[in-house]
Subunit: 237 residues, 2 copies
DNA sequence: ACCCAGAATGAATGAATATTCATTCTTTCG
DNA sequence: CGAAAGAATGAATATTCATTCATTCTGGGT
């Protein structure tokens, strides 16, 4: 980076000001740098799309030099793979924690918490969603991605089925089947995420929640309360 | 395809046999070539993933020379855009045709036909799904894609809502709201497609259908029949 | 038969990009 | 303090790929 060679006499701006004067090379442990790069990758994918992401883009987003991604991840492919793994584990881990949640004894409330987690959050959540679906798009062609996703997915699905089964037993519901419902609910949530991502104009987060809640209410009327979104309305017109 | 080129005579493979001996340059109208290239693009995306698709790949899949894609589509970006438009219009067009379907007077049967269209078909369907989601993955970063999808999407959503409203009226269902249900159903189908694409081991097409039917049955019990995996359902007398 | 508009080709070009690695810098530990 | 370990840098390299365009070929019109 040019280092100390002070800018030539001309007071005009030259092409590459060395990014602030205080910028010093920092040495940090491997794990930290890896996370930093993964975070940068997530932002890049969300902003530019998976197919447009370059190493330059990622490393400069992370505020580091080009070579560093290969230093810590060997290759771009591997960086992308690890990024997917991170997002997948974070999302599914969060769900599982809630579903196991001995801290929320009431099953109905636990459902609510799950829904909040799945459809809540702000910008960050939107970034994660982008990443999520970017990989889905490639998954048909890349078994590695399928494997990563389906591994964590299977566990979450199992937990959800168990939760539903408990609710069914507790409520004495008939004519519902835990496994089928769990598949349906998961698919519904995925589909709503898609809608939020692609047609944010048509589908607000608020409405997405209402729709998901509706699904649950129809299956478990005794556990899932009424409209609950404030005093929402009969103002459907 | 491949035209008549019979399998080679020479047992040895040389590097670049000019693609069969009988291959003659063929001149075809613009529209036909465009479709041929779009079809090839779909296959390439399904097989290699959107981010790995190259012009070489597409044109050779179509059995044509490299330059031709730029001749008919100006640029790779545009080819991809037109491919998305084609898939989107085909999918949504098919749905709309069924939903308007004056050829199926019974509303319950019309629902069945819709479900068949959405979750039926074979390999082709899987290819289309790949394309579909590949673009969804980029949509967060590319307004053009959002626009294409949401344009056709909005129309289909409206038709679905209308159909649901008719069914609600006919069945005298209370406690269901057409708009909300339509959003939910669309999301559910999208989510099931995702599942079929990414975790085909866990979710078979058969089960996906059952889950979707379950959703409809819970909303419209008089119109959607029991487990019957075949489509013929008698409902509402 | 012969012309020629325009369809098709594919070698060549240049831009973009992943990866390497010699060098520079920071920190730690004796 | 001095030196070793290894983290970080970024110029250089090799590759891949979209796009161009001079040239070749086809088929319908006359």
């Amino acid at each position: 980076m040019k280092s100390e060679g002070m800018s030539d006499a001309s007071g005009v701006m030259t092409e590459e000001v060395p990014q602030a004067i205080g910028k010093r090379r920092q040495i940090r442990p491997r794990a930290e740098r890896r996370q930093q790069l993964i975070d940068a990758t997530i932002r890049c994918i969300a902003q530019h799309g998976l197919s447009k992401v370059t190493m330059q883009m990622v490393t400069s987003e992370a505020g580091l030099s080009v070579g560093i991604a290969n230093l810590h991840f060997q290759s771009k492919d591997n960086l992308l793979k690890e990024t997917l793994r991170f997002v997948a584990e974070e999302y599914h881990g969060g769900q599982i924690e809630i579903m196991e949640g001995s801290d929320i004894p009431d099953l109905g409330e636990r459902l609510d918490a799950l829904l909040d987690f799945q459809l809540g959050r702000g910008v960050t959540q939107r970034q994660k969603m982008s990443v999520w679906f970017a990989y889905y798009g490639e998954a048909g062609a890349r078994p590695v991605y399928q494997k990563i996703v389906s591994t964590v997915d299977r566990l979450a699905a199992q937990k959800l089925e168990t939760l539903f089964a408990e609710i069914i037993q507790q409520g004495g519901y008939t004519d519902v089947e835990a496994r089928e419902l769990a598949t349906g609910y998961s698919a519904l949530i995925d589909g709503l995420h898609l809608g939020l991502l692609v047609t944010p104009r048509e589908l607000t987060k608020r409405r997405a929640r209402a729709v998901a809640r509706d699904f649950l209410r129809r299956a478990f009327p005794k556990h899932v309360g009424g409209v609950a979104l404030r005093s929402t309305v009969f103002s459907q017109r």
